[in-house]
Symmetry: C2
Subunit: 199 residues, 2 copies
């Protein structure tokens, strides 16, 4: 049974991006520290992108990369350069946006723009088959929780204080879902907490 | 070596008290849910106060009750009725307050009011000997972090969203300390995360 899962790195003070977020500083001041666990692997021989981290962090990364579809907001998509049109392994990518398609996506057959988050997650689940759906981004997380279509939260809790920036839960929800902690994994420099969302 | 340790229950969205905190609603709406892990034990035969919870939660509670002194702010002290003058086991209690002593504390030899948090923690460490010092309250946590006298954070992370209220880290720190996660314990309905503060 496919599950829609938000994967999100968060500081102990609740921020998913540091202060002074903006063009050229997409993660905010210090925000890169939230993602170090993901990039702790050795650089590959081709340089640039580091390899898979070891231990628990590598296993969590494997789970993320084993998802069968991706749902993201437009801002995340654009900040990431659209992942070059292929987030991972050729799985379908659904971008929630009411805006026009940019010319770049015309050549990206894996990428589909849809109007609303519920449709995005429904179509992503169809595309993912038995695999989970990877959900990206604060705005999409909020919309998906509000629409009742987010099944799980995978919070990578990083032992750092950012002191400001963007909170994961900064927008109030009209109805607060119940959470159930289903797994704790203690990785190097990060605690992976997985929650099921009950509505 | 004695360590000053903040023990604090926090929701996944970072709140230590829910919305609409006030007289008669000291923990805010839903705030009691943050403390259920502490009160999950069976009521004692005398009723009222429940007993020690089982498992990991009981062990964490034992650590808290094994501290050799307490430092708290005046608000927490007053909300708790001054713990009747004895927080636990007759250990000394230091309340950070510039205000006047209320008449009730005249009969409480364990309770001392001091002007500033650094003095409170220094005196509490003297009183605690080899044992740790229990630190209570959001304001005191902030002051102690800012003054560089908080050694550890013991965060009891509860899988609940409160959607509003009082954030543990709502006041910005001029200098952000570094944190090191030293322990993760998975209790029933709560994840106990212990961090060392590096300055």
């Amino acid at each position: 049974m496919s599950s829609s899962v938000l994967y999100m790195s968060m500081s102990l003070d609740g921020f998913v991006a540091g202060p002074n977020e903006g063009p050229g500083n997409g993660l905010g001041d210090g925000g890169m520290r939230l993602h170090e666990w993901f990039f702790e692997g050795e650089p590959t021989e081709h340089g640039g992108v580091p390899g898979r981290p070891g231990g628990v962090n590598g296993e969590v990364m494997d789970e993320l990369m084993a998802t069968g579809a991706v749902v993201s907001g437009r801002t995340t998509f654009e900040l990431a350069g659209g992942w070059g049109g292929d987030h991972h392994d050729g799985v379908p990518v659904f971008i929630v946006s009411r805006g026009e398609l940019g010319p770049e996506v015309a050549d990206w057959p894996l990428v589909t723009f849809v109007d609303d988050v519920a449709t995005a997650i429904a179509r992503a689940k169809e595309g993912a088959g038995d695999r989970d759906v990877l959900v990206h981004g604060v705005t999409i997380a909020h919309l998906a929780l509000a629409a009742g279509v987010l099944d799980e939260l995978q919070i990578h809790l990083v032992p750092v204080l950012l002191g400001g920036g963007r909170h994961l839960f900064e927008q109030p929800l009209a109805e607060l879902p119940e959470l159930e902690l289903t797994r704790v994994r203690d990785g190097r420099g990060v605690t992976h907490l997985r929650y099921r969302v009950h509505r």
